[in-house]
Symmetry: C2
Subunit: 187 residues, 2 copies
Amino acid sequence: MDAAIECFRRRGFHQATMQEICAEAAISAGALYRYFGSKAEIIGAIAEDKRGDSDVAFLRAAEQQGLLEALCLSGREFFQKFADGDGALIADIFAEAIRDDAVATPLRKTDARSVALFVKAIKAAQARREIDVTLDPEVAANTLFAGIEGIGLRRAFLRDTDPDAAVAQFRAFAERYLSPSPSARHE
Amino acid sequence: MDAAIECFRRRGFHQATMQEICAEAAISAGALYRYFGSKAEIIGAIAEDKRGDSDVAFLRAAEQQGLLEALCLSGREFFQKFADGDGALIADIFAEAIRDDAVATPLRKTDARSVALFVKAIKAAQARREIDVTLDPEVAANTLFAGIEGIGLRRAFLRDTDPDAAVAQFRAFAERYLSPSPSARHE
DNA sequence: ACCTGAACACCGTTCAAGT
DNA sequence: ACCTGAACACCGTTCAAGT
């Protein structure tokens, strides 16, 4: 049923019509409204279950290859969506979530889980003295997330969605952001 | 005439109707389409002339207070829009620009001008040895932009649009990103 | 030449009627 | 109980008719 993702993917949230989604799902309009209260509710449901699969992979990478590589893995996954043409849809989701609390609330829950994962990995890396110990893990996790999202959106806007280039840009940012700043070092 | 910005501001791009805009501008539907070919063309026009006023202020700040303070000034200006409730509109513009070349092309032109300004200020700061000289100015300018945009959107999504907190987050990011990285220093 | 506004094609959503 | 699909209210856009 959620395979009506296909319609948003093909035409974007505002361009796709409920009738197209009904046709794709082989269902009537009335039946669709039995499962989802509105069009906005559908993006909520989509964005919600798109996360999570990669959580285990992230934590394993953080342990085995270090925080930076794990972050780049997450980044690549996100940047790939833009290369696949989902950029406008992602921006639509942002817009809808900023505008509508009913959309934002469920998304914030899954977002918080991802942030918590970042925080956990950051603390572990600090314990290993792999990165700057003076960074606030919560703020750092959010800034890294903002960096990934900003880079992805911006490159889509500039029509250069090559994931390799995007990861390289993010890697340089994360590396510099996380490394002990000269002014803060104590030895 | 462009005071129909008001409608987008109040209700967002997709929620505002052409009839509302016509009423606000005291004009008929036919007349509106004489000036703008479509609804999408209107955001293009809006976003286009929203830039530019602050270019002079940025360059002056960069000279007198250093690159970091000038960046924070730009950041604050952008974050203020989210605090004013324009966050969803900004995300809409992103979505529309990613989806539609006709919207993106004029926006990329004004964007390029702002990036060029950042690049210029970055080069000057490198000449002063104020920041890391090994940074590519073009990439750095884009990454800083992505950081501002990402932080703004993300904080709007998380319903915490306080400009002071946003600037503080961005300042820490920019400071660490720009400072000479230990591994790259030569002395 | 320029503007008007009724009309058009189409959208998201609903709800009486069927099974 | 659940689904259908015509109908509703409303959208962005157009274009014959006016000035």
